[in-house]
């Protein structure tokens, strides 16, 4: 029996999910399946608890993060958002990315954490806009081609944010 992640948490397979319901159903599943509940149980039950809890963690992570959730919804449609053969990005987005990267480099050389923080905030605004358009593209219009482009942008944005956070960590000692 293989449930998809939405089915596992008893949720509609949409982008604009109710995060509170995801969270509370995740806790319910962990309450049943966490290895702590099976410390004195036979090995077979321990094993299935470990597998179920691991799956629940993985599924939760995939649905909680918007970029991962969009990517997963597309996968359910048989679409791979990021693949080796599909890397084209619109020029304006690439320009935008290069600007962020340059600003990041500058802030790193100046060891300017607050500049990096405001860059993060700026990028988050862009991410929010993309998430709103994904709600309409995936849940209403079901325009999977456009949704794929938006998802890829969101994934790239997550990557830039992650790199900025790592940079802050290197500076902040």
């Amino acid at each position: 029996m293989s449930l998809n992640y939405f089915e596992l948490f008893g949720l509609e397979p949409i982008f604009n999910i109710e995060l509170a319901a995801l969270e509370s159903n995740f806790r319910k599943i962990q309450s049943e399946s966490h290895p702590d509940r099976f410390v004195t149980a036979p090995a077979a039950e321990k094993l299935s608890a470990m597998q179920q809890a691991t799956l629940a963690n993985e599924a939760y992570l995939s649905l909680k993060n918007p970029a991962n959730r969009a990517k997963y919804l597309l996968e359910l449609q048989g679409i791979t958002a990021i693949s080796e053969t599909n890397t084209a990005m619109p020029t304006d987005f690439l320009m935008q990315q290069m600007e962020w990267r340059e600003a990041t480099e500058d802030a790193i050389s100046a060891k300017d954490i607050s500049a990096l923080d405001s860059l993060l905030a700026e990028i988050q605004v862009e991410a929010k806009t993309l998430q709103e358009s994904l709600t309409s593209l995936l849940d209403v219009q079901k325009d999977y081609a456009a949704a794929t482009d938006a998802t890829r942008k969101l994934i790239f944005i997550d990557k830039v944010s992650e790199d900025i956070n790592r940079a802050i960590e290197q500076i902040d000692i």
Binding site: F9, D36, T40, P42, A53, T54, Y60, E169
Partner: protein
């Protein structure tokens, strides 16, 4: 007088009987054991009324081992045979110890720099694992005496920031002490449990835990008995000991100023001054100045006065060092200061006023100190131990902890490919595909590392293993899937599999930094002495107990849930039960364990089906609730 009930050998205890389980805080400076008695978590005391057991072990000339206050009292007189703060050396090699010149022990140099460090004592070479096992044995004896029975299991706390090698070493020490480890629990999480349950707290809390030798900071979200760790960070080589050490260095400087002929201190004098430094630190918590007076072995009198202002000044860097991990944890949790409902201080070193001020200043709120910072970790561990063995009737305590450090492996050019990022909720499994670099390559060396840096050389190497027998193919054609799995104790296992022909390699990460299975078996043998017969009897008894337990639990499960499987599957399970019952009558422990394994194997699909049923039941239960509203 109440009569004690004794169950028939081989029968499992009645379900309502309280099972003896304890929590142990194995600390750098002090260790404690606690349990839950009639619903209340309590620290167990020794016969003199001491709750804290100093984590000091002394090897005596007659072969006796003394642990605790008596050992601590002899530290200055017998420094090389009296080992304190062994926790700092757990899972470490000699090259990891930065300040060994100031540690008065005879460390043994090994040609192999990755080998675990050892200390030469009059009782022979001792590893930190063996030294810690002595502390655990003492606490085990204290608990069994106080509770009047054998312990079913223990929860042992470790710093959240302990890496895999340090966790494995802690588990090894417990095994040497004859303890059944139910779970390794992160210290800040334990503290959060004790604090949260006590105060019925809800919301996001920070646990700032500065112990004798380690610093942890964890951010937890508390919701109706669920303790979810959002992020953790720290420094596994920073603690109260470092403050002592700064005082010690300051005193040395004063001595150097006052005399022209000053020779390096003897081991006894070093230990004496370190003890005086610790006392001065504690004194300065409530006083403005501390006088440090002692006579060195060469007759020189040391008499200096340290003001709290001076102390704060020369330890400022240490305090600042705790704030970087704190900021990192806040970033990882994606929180701002406004999101934090409370900051709980844990660990004896948080008694220092400068530490409290720094925390207060950073979080812009007064930290919570209403629980004894020395005891809160042990109390939390006791609550968790009680819940794990099923004594807790309300089914509402759940800890969701995370892995503190990223796990990855080495790729071309000495770069780290991260497989599991830090702060992933446990248990977690992740797989990644790799390929060959050369045409016809038939083997691949896989190095597993832990840490946040980009270069393998800057991370801690956990293990190296080889996958052989890859069919010769063009470079880049093979598909090797490497799977990392971290269990609820935070311990890692890694397996690698070539996808086209299924060649497999598997390691539980242990070899390069842990004790080998052989070493543990050898230590266990020597600690049991020559009583080989005892050992055989013990193994048989243990095998029969686990046989009884699994027969019981599978029979119960079949009675309730046999509709989840086919009649045929049910028959297979019943056959295995009968087989196990038959084998249990005989005296062969190995055969019993084999039959237990067979029954376990036969019930795997059944267990998975029950798990699915219980999960969907839990979710549908929620829907009913919302309809009723």
């Amino acid at each position: 007088m109440a009569l004690l009930q004794i169950s028939e050998p081989g029968m499992s205890a009645a379900p309502h009987q309280h099972k003896l389980a304890v929590g142990i805080d194995l600390g750098t400076t002090n260790s404690l054991v606690a349990t839950v008695k009639s619903g209340m978590a309590t620290v167990l005391q020794d016969e003199h009324g001491h709750a804290l057991l100093p984590s000091v072990v002394r090897y005596m000339p007659e072969g006796e081992v003394v642990v605790g206050h008596d050992a601590q009292a002899q530290q200055s007189a017998d420094p090389v045979n009296t080992i304190a703060s062994a926790k700092r050396f757990m899972g470490r090699s000699l090259k990891d110890i930065a300040d060994r010149a100031h540690i008065p022990y005879n460390f043994v140099d090994s040609s192999d720099s990755t080998k675990l460090l050892q200390i030469q004592t009059r009782a022979g070479l001792k590893t930190p694992v063996e030294i810690s096992a002595e502390i655990l044995k003492t606490l085990k004896a204290r608990a069994e005496k106080s509770l009047g029975g054998d312990l079913i299991g223990v929860v042992i706390t470790v710093p959240a920031y302990f890496d895999d090698a340090q966790r494995q070493a802690t588990k090894d020490a417990a095994r040497l002490a004859g303890l059944n480890v139910l779970r390794l629990l992160n210290e800040p999480t334990a503290a959060a449990v004790a604090y949260g349950l006590d105060n019925a707290a809800e919301g996001t809390f920070v646990i700032y835990d500065l112990g004798g030798g380690t610093f942890d900071v964890s951010i937890l979200k508390l919701t109706k008995g669920v303790f979810e760790v959002l992020a953790t960070n720290g420094d596994s080589a920073l603690g109260g000991d470092d403050f002592d050490h700064r005082i010690y260095c300051w005193v040395l400087d004063r001595i150097r100023e006052s005399t022209s002929d000053f020779n390096p201190l003897s081991e006894n004098d070093t230990r004496l001054l370190l003890t005086k430094a610790r006392q001065a630190k504690e004194w300065l918590t409530d006083n403005h100045e501390a006088q440090i007076v002692c006579r060195l072995s060469n007759g020189m009198l040391v008499d200096v006065t340290l003001s709290s202002t001076q102390f704060v000044e020369f330890t400022q860097q240490l305090v600042i060092k705790t704030l970087a991990p704190t900021r990192k944890a806040m970033r990882d949790a994606e929180l701002t200061l406004d999101d934090i409902k409370g900051v709980v201080l844990v660990g004896g070193a948080t008694r220092m006023p400068q530490v409290r001020h720094a925390v207060e200043e950073y979080f812009k709120q007064t930290p919570l100190t209403n629980l004894d910072p020395d005891k809160v970790v042990a109390l939390g561990a006791a609550i968790q131990a009680n819940a794990l063995v099923g004594n807790r009737s309300e089914d509402d305590l759940l800890l969701l902890d995370v892995t503190p450090l990223s796990l990855g492996l080495e790729t071309m050019g000495g770069l780290v490919e991260r497989i599991i990022p830090r702060n992933s909720t446990l248990p977690v499994a992740r797989a990644q595909d790799f390929t060959t670099y050369k045409d016809g390559q038939t083997a691949m060396s896989i190095q597993v590392v832990q840490g946040e840096r980009e270069l393998v050389a800057d991370c801690r190497s956990l293990a190296r293993f080889e996958l052989r027998g890859i069919p010769p193919m063009a470079a880049g054609a093979a598909r090797i899937r490497v799977t990392f799995q971290v269990d609820a104790d935070g311990l890692l296992s890694v397996s690698a599999r070539e996808q086209t022909n299924g060649v497999e390699a598997h390691v539980v990460v242990k070899p390069s930094y842990g004790l080998s299975e052989d070493e543990i078996t050898h230590m266990l043998k020597s600690s049991f002495g020559s009583a080989e017969a005892d050992k055989v009897a013990r193994m048989l008894a243990e095998a029969r107990v686990s046989a009884g337990a699994i027969i019981n639990s599978v029979t119960l499960a079949l009675a309730v849930d046999s509709h989840l499987i086919s009649e045929q599957e049910k028959q297979v399970i019943e056959t295995e039960i009968q087989n196990l019952q038959t084998v249990s009558q005989a005296e062969d422990a190995v055969a019993i364990n084999k039959a237990v394994d067979a029954l376990n194997h036969a019930t795997e699909a059944f267990a998975a089906a029950r798990m699915n049923a219980s999960v969907s039941h839990a979710l549908s239960g929620k829907n009913l609730d919302s309809i009723n509203l």
